[in-house]
Amino acid sequence: MPSKLFDIEMRLLIDAIFLKFHYDFRSYSGPSLKRRLTTAMTRFGCATLSQLQDKVLHDPSTFPQLLDYLTVQVSEMFRDPSYFRALREKVVPLLRTYPSLKIWVAGCSTGEEVYSLAILLHEENLLSRTLIYATDINAHALQKAEAGVYDIERIPGFTVNHRNAGGRSSLADFYSAAYGNALFDKALKSHIVFSDHSLATDSVFAEVQLVSCRNVLIYFNRELQDRALGLFRDALCRKGFLGLGSKESLRFSACADDFDPVVEADRIYQRRDGR
């Protein structure tokens, strides 16, 4: 049982959010949630979490904003270039053997990784037969992802990453710049379905050949990690691929035996044949 006042208030707030809004943060990793809530308290001018709870329950405009503090992950395109290079070199040759492809980017936030994958698949001449499901629990982040508009100042970093990821074309081929923004190509978007989905409460919705879910599981406790990994296992076809973040591992998971490592250093795994 929590003894510190903040921990008690945090549990009450998380329960209140679940009861009223059906967003389930009860199995999120404590320290990051605590840090984000502390930031949110300052932002909403609340001295205590109890005050924030009052606002969340009684002021309809508060929760959508709070949700951004609790869920939005700022990523970048081709973050960890070696991951995308490994996908290109070790996974793409096998993806080529499928007549049509379905890919699930779970916890896509504002979409940087989704567009990175779409660009990679386009460069490998696979995008035309691919459908990417990009899911997140935050509707606001999904809207941003769907818009595909990023601050132009972030593009130089994205470009370096793309090159280091073994990019076969110029990133500039995929966006147009206007008013300080880079707008990514509609042709990429036509292969992406953006959709609301919770790894904590929803179930499998399609059979896919690749799941990419990076730096999402570190925000979950072990039980929720196992639930999410179980969903990925059940969504993947036999010999389908799973890509995780560079500091996420299957090693301690209940699902460890369901996967074989393909490129351990880049956290790319493959679903085992039998079950």
């Binding site: 320290p31 840090r35 570190i218 591992s249």
Partner: protein, 200 residues
């Protein structure tokens, strides 16, 4: 606690160290001072340009008489082990205690951030925490060390006059003047007093 009184290291249950510019050399002095029979864990955030894989644990291993490893997410904290934050991830301490990593936004232009480590560790270890801020050119660690002090832990900064980059210890002292300011040799001498188990 006044800045002049001798700190009592017997109550220490964990150590957090934050370093930036000049930090590799400073840690090169401090890590060899950790007792071979150290029983408390030590967590380190060192600002570095992003690189992968991190070589820090390998670099420091020969100078450290305790196991030194890159921190892994959800890993239970082992006594007497030195954990280094991986590049491009925040390192936090969870109840258990256990390691937690995050890719949340940079703090003071840094990920890993010293403040993030110190604040989460202060929450878990309270008065049992020893926080040390070393050389650096920015202000990361000032809020974190203050959180350690408020939680009743021991707080030390590398004396700005002896730091390769004095801004980080200065900023911590500006946040609160009661942190003990010592030379690296002085800090190393104190670390030798840390709780130690029986020789193996």
């Amino acid at each position: 606690m006044s800045a002049t009184s001798e700190p009592d290291l017997r109550k220490v249950e964990a150590i957090v160290i934050g370093a930036s510019a000049g930090g590799v050399a400073a840690l090169g002095t401090l890590l060899p001072a950790l007792p071979a029979q150290l029983v408390v864990p030590c967590f380190i955030v060192l600002h570095l340009p992003r690189e992968r894989p991190s070589l820090l644990a390998d670099i420091f291993a020969p100078q450290c008489r305790r196991p030194i490893v890159e921190a892994q997410d959800k890993e239970p904290v082992a006594p007497g082990t030195v954990y280094i934050a991986p590049p491009d991830y925040h390192l936090l301490i969870d109840e258990g205690p256990a390691i937690a990593l995050s890719t949340d936004e940079v703090v003071h232009f840094s990920r890993p951030s010293i403040d993030v480590l110190f604040e989460s560790a202060a929450d878990v270890y309270g008065r049992g925490l020893l926080g040390i801020v070393l050389s650096g050119w920015n202000q990361d660690g000032a809020d974190g060390l203050e959180a350690v002090r408020r939680a009743g832990g021991l707080t030390i900064v590398q004396h700005p006059d002896t730091a390769e980059a004095p801004v980080m210890p200065q900023s911590a002292l500006a946040r609160h003047p009661d942190h003990l300011a010592l030379s690296l040799a002085g800090i190393a001498a104190l670390l030798k007093e840390l709780p130690a188990g029986k020789p193996a």
